[in-house]
Symmetry: C2
Subunit: 433 residues, 2 copies
């Protein structure tokens, strides 16, 4: 095996320079097993944030399904095949009735790309409302609709058809707190965009949001926010897109899908990351009516989308989630994790907020609980110190001061103890600097 | 197993309606083995056009590599890993020296998306020259640069920054024949675009073309065309992108890459379809200089791109191509296939042209060899009749009258005989109607 320093050297030589490496002391991973990753020395790391490995790294049932199909057939959807349809059938069964037509792709970026094409085909409009700090993908058009990218370093701002509204962050956003009026204050910004468009004789294409914004800082939307926004958007002729790339498949514990938390039904649902457990997979699910409007003479075909292996893996992941009751596990174990983290707030003034649902959790670090001054440097130190203790975490949020905890779903109660005990110790050391 | 009619019914119910099914009498495929596919009754089909299964459906070496890695680790490139670098190293070794920096993605669409972002970052310009009838992907921006899509059914034409030049089709294009002046006549259209941009004080971003245009009708570019175009584009400050999604990895027999046929070196090379043998994989390879210009503060990260399994499969496919001398095989067997097809021209007036290189072949059917009236209906009949004889072919070209022959690379001399014998018989029956 190549030494770590040589690997790092080759990486700089062979790969694009704007691909970052996690941690100051990079980790070389050579093996995965459920919620654990192992480095080249055999050291075991507790994975507390790779949500892509949804049912666990190398989950044996998923591996077996992939291996078997790989040896049998892997071709495209212009031939008839049962497993892409079986996958579609099972996905649809988890969704509200009107979401009944599937398109298969190879990533969340591709899926969000298609979602936007569907919305445009249906509305014959292009003006789109997006949440500030949102991220929807790495293609040109997805960067256009992702403030996290186009307003960040190297970005050129949004195009004129993209309308940004404040991220409804009840901890740090323009309107704070838990009052029932908060949702309305945030949704008024959507109303304002709609009014401006109307004044300018423009049509609204729609609204897109992650059901729980992730890179925005592991945000839970205020109660009623999405319901109010969806009503306004639909009244203006737009469609509502739920980006469930980070939140679907039981992660939030209380519900299978993020949007269900808010008692709304989107017109288009976008899936990515967890549904293939690491295998390149994206899906868009929409209504008959929207799918029909897209069937305008131009074929939609993805060479790899919905291929036999991707479908077999997709089915296996969904089966594991359902048959092994991982949603209920995320609910109960996530609740304990949240409670333990909240206890840490009493002992560590740097923890400004602990929020989340199930295994979708953010711990926001601040230098001052009154001013909310983001503890960006501290968050970075904590994550790197935790890495030295073989626990993998990341940061998120506009100020990179939110520790994100989104572990593979098999994350156990013992893992919770290990994570919290170490975080406590690290905060004691680093946090008091 | 579900019956074929039930599968077809479920497909209409569950999938987007604008995903077409191959053949009037659809094929249900349940197993693949090198250049053969098997339907639900066990009937063997000779696959003569699925170029994605480059080294053969379920090639055992590729399957084994995927199976092994799948069970060991499949995570992202923010950790250090050897196999993504080993794949990069081997890819770069097949390319001219200055093409030395790799980006890994999950499809040709994603790879062309990134290629365009790289070109824009490097040139700070957006105006792009594209070939008529070209296809580069299914995302919004890729449809913008694909006349095959935006000028076809349901399309809305090109945006103002896309400049279309004639496809240099020496059989049917505006300038015909094999004279050395033909290349200049076609490349003058590129000069004209550059001049118009200059007049309007606009900068050129670049030029993109498939090295042998595929959906355009299995076209070989005239000698010197790319050399002349690349010179003009570079003189105007633009970059040259070679879309090798259809043509790379030895398919054309004479060379490993399509662009090598024309003795040019692109600035950006885009790979897709064959390199994963069906596994979702795309790669962009460019120069240090262009990669550096893209490293402007905005990270480029693909969740699945360059993951351990994709990399292991990528390495295996490349190794099979090289170690089993599939390029040389495509050269010799493809030459025999071309010769046999040309012999059919003597007996079938409907064959207007037979062209190709290696296993990248087009047989253009016409109703009249003088007027070149496209035999669209006949081509469709031929392909469907061949399907009844268990030989899989497709059509391409602006008039869907070009029979495309792009088999998996293990396609044998016996397969050539089977294909040509049956095509001869089918043309005798159908062609004389």
């Amino acid at each position: 095996m190549t030494s770590k320093s040589e690997t790092l050297f080759n990486r700089k030589r062979l790969l694009g320079g704007n691909l970052s490496v996690a941690y100051k002391n990079p980790v070389k991973i050579v093996r995965g097993e459920m919620q654990y990753l192992f480095d080249e020395t055999g050291r075991r790391f507790l994975d507390a944030y790779n949500n892509v490995a949804h049912v666990g790294h190398c989950n044996p049932r998923v591996v077996e399904a992939g291996q078997r199909q790989m040896a049998r057939l892997n071709t495209n959807t212009r031939y008839l095949s049962d497993n892409v349809l079986a996958f579609a059938e099972r996905l649809i069964a988890t969704l509200p009735e009107n979401l009944n037509t599937c398109f298969f792709l190879n990533s969340g970026s591709e899926a969000n790309e298609l979602a936007l094409r569907l919305a445009r085909a249906y509305t014959c409009a292009i003006d789109l409302i997006v949440l500030d700090h949102a991220y929807h993908g790495n293609t040109t058009t997805m960067i256009d609709i992702s403030p996290y990218k186009h307003d960040g370093p190297g970005g050129n701002g949004p195009p004129s058809w993209v309308h940004k509204v404040p991220l409804p962050d009840q901890y740090r956003g323009p309107y704070r707190g838990v009052g029932s009026e908060i949702a309305g204050m945030y949704s008024q910004h959507v109303v304002a965009v709609v009014n401006t468009l109307t004044t300018n004789d423009k049509q609204l294409c729609g609204f897109i949001a992650e059901s729980l914004p992730s890179v925005g800082g592991q945000i839970l939307l205020p109660e009623n926010y999405l319901a109010q926004v969806y009503t306004e958007v639909r009244a203006a002729g737009g469609v509502c897109i739920a980006d469930e790339v980070q939140t679907g498949y039981g992660r939030i514990g209380s519900h299978f899908w993020g949007f269900e938390r808010y008692d709304v039904v989107p017109d288009i649902v976008v899936l990515g990351k967890p549904i293939g457990n690491g295998h390149p997979l994206g899906v868009v699910i929409t209504t008959n009516e929207i799918a029909r409007s897209f069937n305008n003479g131009m074929e939609f075909f993805s060479t790899f989308g919905g291929n036999n292996v991707s479908s077999a893996i997709g089915i296996a992941v969904l089966e594991v989630v359902q048959q092994e009751h991982l949603q209920a596990h995320a609910a109960s174990t996530g609740e304990r994790l949240l409670a333990e983290l909240r206890k840490l707030m009493e002992r560590h003034a740097c923890i400004g907020d602990v929020r989340g649902a199930g295994f979708f959790i953010g711990v926001e670090l601040v230098n001052n609980r009154e001013t909310l001054e983001p503890a960006t440097v501290l968050a970075d130190q904590v994550v790197n110190e935790m890495r030295e203790r073989a626990i993998l975490l990341g940061t998120d949020g506009p100020f990179h001061n939110v520790i994100k905890i989104r572990p593979p779903m098999p994350f156990s109660s013992d893992d919770v103890t290990e994570l919290v005990t170490n975080l406590d110790q690290v905060l004691q050391t680093v946090g008091s600097n």
